[in-house]
């Protein structure tokens, strides 16, 4: 079985600026792949390259076995794309938006009607058929955008920050929909800033300063040696007023990172200083915990920044 999406030493330069540096990965068919990284780290550029809009400076990639350098026109017919801007025509109705994208992909006649029924049913947007897109709420706009993006039954769908600015209920509904489609064999490549969304993904990639820093399942990332250096443990220090402790904890010998989560401090510390911490703050509860995905990315980012200084 061929991979749905591959990147093979993909490098993209704009003048002297390297937007994407030697990125390689493989995404299997039906996988929901989460792609994370700060703004400007090269996420959208990689998507554009994989869709054939940007010719890579070096390296290449494939979509469903088609070469992104040679088969750009054919790739577009098999790929769906949805961005946080949604790409909807606000003055057109739901049905007119769907009909437009249906026409753009050249889906005609009986097949077109049938496909329209399918996406309307799938996204549940049928009751709003004759409503203008401008009158829809953010969550429904997003569903309509997805309906338009998958009208041509693409096997691969790129979602570029699809849930930015959407309420939690609508976000969850969208993810349920993605998994339903992935169950039917559709491959999703989703960029996001939300850690809870990343944790839903089968596999996650993290790009920082144009380089792919880490890739793997969530549990694989949590066990990465760079994220959890040998001899260190992650601890949670419960306290009534963690804010007053934070500076003291950060200054404590053996503490590498510390940040506040609600009523506790999460810290990455040398294993041998845990008992010293317990002794220093006997009232606080100090427990050893697993690294969260956010912990992993922060540690990775700090590691790269430390190395580059």
């Amino acid at each position: 079985m061929t991979a749905a999406i591959t990147a093979d030493h993909l490098t993209i330069r704009f003048g002297s600026f390297t937007a994407v540096a030697d990125v390689s990965f493989e995404i299997a068919k039906g996988e929901v792949f989460g792609f994370l990284g700060p703004n400007g780290s090269g996420k959208t550029t990689i998507i554009k390259a994989l869709c054939g809009l940007i010719t890579p400076s070096e390296g290449t990639g494939t979509i469903l076995g088609m070469d992104i350098r040679k088969d750009a026109a054919e790739i577009k017919r098999h790929v769906g794309y949805m961005s946080q801007k949604f790409g909807l025509y606000e003055d057109l109705t739901v049905a007119e938006n769907i009909d437009f994208y249906s026409g753009v992909y050249g889906i005609k006649g009986q097949q077109g009607l049938q496909r329209k029924e399918e996406v309307l049913g799938l996204t549940g947007i049928e009751p709003y058929m004759n409503r203008r897109a401008s009158q829809l709420s953010g969550g429904w706009k997003q569903r309509l955008a997805l309906a338009c993006a998958i009208i041509h039954s693409p096997e691969v769908v790129f979602l570029d920050e699809p849930t930015a600015g959407i309420d939690p209920v609508a976000r969850r509904a969208l993810w349920d929909l993605l998994f339903k489609l992935s169950g039917q064999g559709v491959t999703f490549f989703v960029t996001t800033h939300y850690m809870d969304e990343a944790e839903r993904c089968g596999r996650v990639g993290y790009i920082y300063l144009s380089k792919l820093v880490a890739i793997g399942s969530v549990s694989e990332l949590q066990r990465l040696p760079q994220a959890s250096p040998p001899g260190t443990v992650r601890i949670q220090i419960g306290s009534v007023n963690p804010a007053s402790l934070l500076d003291a904890v950060r200054a404590f010998p053996g503490v590498r990172e510390a940040t506040i989560f609600g009523r506790s401090i999460h810290a990455l510390v040398d294993g041998d200083c845990v008992s010293a911490l317990r002794a220093r703050w006997p009232d606080a509860s100090v427990q050893i915990i697993d690294a969260s995905l956010e912990d992993v990315f922060v540690t990775l980012t700090n590691g790269i920044m430390g190395a580059s200084q």
């Binding site: 809009l53 961005s83 437009f100 753009v104």
Partner: protein, 371 residues
């Protein structure tokens, strides 16, 4: 070939929906050129009549009054005020109350009777060069006729000129200006409509979405040109009707040829609108760029100033302005009854410019989407 224009029909259909959904914009797009046609069509009159004139008559004789009568009956001068001193006359001109001053010296009648040369001073405000030229030549003409009448007592002129003005016998300004105005109005409206339509898509992110679909750049461009081209064509027909009925400008040539030869111009301005839309990031930018095309089209296209009188550098510029060719088509067909045989080169140049502009826009579009 089909792939080159992929997406044309859905884009075209969608664009008609946008137009139908926004009747306000449509109304103003069609109404404003019409309003401007009325405004400029009535206001612009380059024929100079009734110039306010101040008179300082020191002679105060039968002879001086007769000379002033001749000035007054020329219809060019309107003797609107009388000054009692030289300073007062200058002051009237400086204050803009009068454009011309006529000073008849106290010895005017005596010189005439003695058969020596009498001098009449005619002061002309040169701040409007057309007016000044007209005033000087009419004043010279008036005094020349008066002089001849004095020299040949039987009143017969040795030579009489009978000018016959072809194509615009009444030398009405409307006949000259309204056909040219059509080009300017059509250009502004068309460039603005299509440029805003594309930049709106860029602002709202739908353009980015379209680049991810199989829509071909030319499919997108031509798909937008058809609806806005049709709108502009409709507006052209309405403007021609107003020109004929309200301004009473006769169309001497074939209306069909006129409409057919307007298509290359519409192609060109649509193309320019598309090029502008690839350069502008916001609707405000697109608006400014569109407005920037107006002044050269007004001043360097022969609409107001004769191209033959321009310095060679500006003549060269006027040759790359599409309105230059269309205005000569409009005036040729409407005023002189010319046809395809005389004007085909204009249409050919406009077609070439139009195709070049559309290809340039498509090329820019492809270049931009890969960044």
């Amino acid at each position: 070939m089909r792939n080159l224009f992929h997406g044309l029909i859905p884009i075209c259909r969608k664009e008609f929906l946008h137009i139908a959904r926004d009747p306000g914009t449509l109304f103003f797009a069609l109404l404003i050129p019409m309003l401007q046609l009325f405004l400029f069509g009535f206001a612009v009159d380059t024929n100079i009549r009734q110039i306010p004139t101040v008179v300082f008559d020191e002679s105060r004789t039968q002879d001086s009054r007769q000379l002033l009568q001749s000035f007054s009956s020329s219809d060019v001068f309107k003797l609107s005020s009388y000054a009692s001193s030289k300073d007062e006359m200058y002051e009237a001109i400086r204050a803009g109350k009068a454009r011309v001053g006529i000073r008849i010296p106290y010895d005017y009648a005596r010189h005439l009777q003695d058969g020596t040369t009498a001098t009449v001073l005619v002061l002309v405000d040169g701040s409007d060069s057309t007016l000044a030229g007209q005033a000087v030549s009419t004043a010279t003409g008036v005094t020349l006729i008066e002089s001849l009448a004095k020299v040949s007592p039987n009143g017969k002129m040795p030579i009489e000129v009978r000018p016959s003005v072809l194509y615009n016998p009444a030398t009405r300004s409307a006949n000259f200006f309204v056909p040219g105005l059509i080009a300017i109005l059509l250009q502004v409206m068309t460039i603005l409509l299509i440029a805003l339509s594309l930049v709106r898509e860029r602002e709202r992110g739908t353009l980015e979405q379209l680049t991810m679909t199989p829509v071909a750049p030319l499919g997108l461009m031509v798909g937008k040109m058809i609806p806005y081209g049709l709108l502009a064509f409709f507006e052209l027909c309405a403007i021609l009707a107003v020109m004929r009925v309200v301004f009473q400008v006769p169309i001497h040539g074939s209306v069909f040829t006129l409409l057919a030869m307007s298509l290359p111009f519409l192609l060109t301005v649509l193309g320019i609108g598309l090029v502008i839309s690839t350069k502008a990031h916001t609707q405000a930018e697109a608006f400014q760029l569109s407005m920037g095309t107006i002044l050269p089209s007004v001043f360097l296209s022969g609409y107001i100033f004769l191209i033959d009188n321009m310095p060679p550098f500006f003549q060269a510029i006027s040759r790359i302005i599409p309105a230059t060719y269309y205005i000569s088509v409009l005036r040729g067909i409407i005023l002189r009854g010319a046809g395809l045989r005389e004007l085909w080169a204009n249409a050919a140049i406009l077609t070439a410019m139009g195709i070049a502009a559309v290809l340039l826009a498509a090329w820019q579009f492809v270049k931009q989407r890969s960044t």
